[in-house]
Amino acid sequence: MRDEESVLEVRGLGHRYGDATSGHHAIGSLDFAVRSGEFVSIVGPSGSGKTTLLRIVTGLMRPGQGSVEVAGRPVSGGVPEDVAVVFQDYSRSLFAWMSVRRNVAFPLRNARCSRDERTAESLAAVGLTDFAGRYPWQLSGGMQQRVAIARALAYRPKLLLMDEPFASVDAQTRADLEDLALQVHERFGTTILFVTHDIDESVYLSDRVLVLSSPPARLLADVQVDLPRPRDQLATRQLPEFVRLRAEVAGLLLRQRDPRDETGPAVGSAEEMPAWA
């Protein structure tokens, strides 16, 4: 289609851990693309291979089958240059022995002056200018995750991956961080692939929501989200379109819960919202 515009291209991707009989078949077959400047979310039941997918895209793992291209270059073995990641576990992915400023500057290889400039700019973008000299462990969880976002921003990635980034913060902080992600997307035009298990969050943030099946993962639906931007925590969530989209995605995920699947939670009625939505 519009190949030259897509930042991420996933074709025929499949992966299996262990051998064919006793192993875990994490990803069946996945095909999708993320265009430049898009905000795309991936939702799926837990254990649906979201993490596997991210590890393959970041080059930390080789896929069993298929291929991944970032910015037109295949990800094969090595780590692609244009990708930055915000992990869920901020306390570990930030370095306790570096100040906030040094954490943000850590991946930058440019000359000193432009590095300082970029670090300052990224810290300002997440509202942490005054905390540059502190250490991560002196900050709250939400602020630590802001540092991780600033670090990813300073790297100026073509593709920003966010792996359930807000799953371990409280509800209020989470709303703030969601809006921060939207601002960053708006201001820097960053292409974002956002992995979450929260249906509301995926609809609220994205241009498109990719719904994965339970493993072996395949694409159940590619839901277009045409909610107006800028989005607002209260107004957007009250729009009939938001409610409809949320129900659509939830319905897709609920139908995944097969009674034969003993490990999943009990099946509720189709109207009932799942607890994790």
Partner: protein
């Protein structure tokens, strides 16, 4: 403000009071009863002042200096070798089951038991003592480095890789800082052990040093001299530990803060 100063003064007074009382008791008892082998603290101090701190030549130059040189050189060699080899072993995960038992065995080897080997192979000079100290104390450093490197969280290494950070910077900016608390624990154990090995090597291969002076004092019935040597060994140990603690406090300030924050 004055309250706080008073509080600090009171507390330091409190921490010194027992020392003063014990030294006083010792002085009183030895002065009154003249036990053969126990010298009054006053005499020990006079010996230290007259023979160690001054005199021609002073024992600061003839005994303390060589002893310090042996301990520090042995410790430095052990630190460099232990950390370098420890990082190599710790980072190569498949190597662990092959190397671990061997390292544990070598650590269990009591260094004094092989002192004769070092005496014969390297003579009785400084070289022997430095190599003996380094060999004897490298194991706690090595083991702690291996453990520290192995316990670096995978996510930290992957964060480095994802952001395109090369192996050398990952080593110096992620692996070594993350393993530093454990490495320092090893360095501290090694320092105490180094002092033990310094003294024993100086006693066995008599050629000067604090250990030699202690043994000399005993053999020549110069008990104030013997006690002075013992006190000097303690002071040297105290100073070296203090310096290491200072360095550790600077390098690992983040670690203490992070631990306190996690609790």
């Amino acid at each position: 403000m004055t309250h706080r100063v008073a509080g600090i003064a009171l507390r330091s007074l409190e921490s010194l009071i027992l020392v003063v009382v014990l030294v006083g008791l010792w002085q009183w008892y030895t002065a009154a009863h003249h036990p053969l082998y126990f010298t009054p603290p006053g005499d020990i101090w006079r010996t230290i002042r007259e023979h160690w701190l001054s005199g021609q030549p002073s024992k600061l130059r003839t005994a303390v200096e060589p002893s310090l040189r042996r301990v520090l050189l042995g410790w430095l060699i052990a630190a460099v070798v232990g950390v370098a080899v420890g990082v190599a072993i710790g980072a190569t995960r498949w190597l662990a089951p092959y190397v671990d038992p061997l390292v544990h065995f070598l650590r269990s080897l009591p260094p004094p038991a092989i002192l004769p080997v070092f005496l014969v192979l390297f003579g009785i000079g400084d070289r022997m003592k430095i190599i003996f100290i380094a060999f004897g104390i490298v194991w706690p450093i090595l083991l702690n480095t291996i453990r520290g490197v192995r316990s670096v969280p995978v996510l930290q290494l992957e964060t480095g890789r994802v952001f395109g950070v090369g192996p050398l910077r990952r080593l110096f900016q992620i692996v070594l800082p993350a393993a530093a608390p454990q490495i320092f624990a090893g360095l501290r154990i090694a320092l105490s052990l180094a002092l033990v090995l310094m003294v024993i090597s100086e006693m066995v291969a008599a050629s000067g040093g604090i250990g030699f002076e202690i043994l000399q004092g005993q053999a020549a019935f110069d008990f104030p001299g013997m006690w002075a040597g013992i006190v000097v060994v303690g002071v040297v140990g105290l100073l070296l530990n203090g310096v290491l603690s200072l360095v550790e406090g600077r390098v690992l300030g983040w670690h203490r803060g992070a631990r306190a924050a996690a609790q």
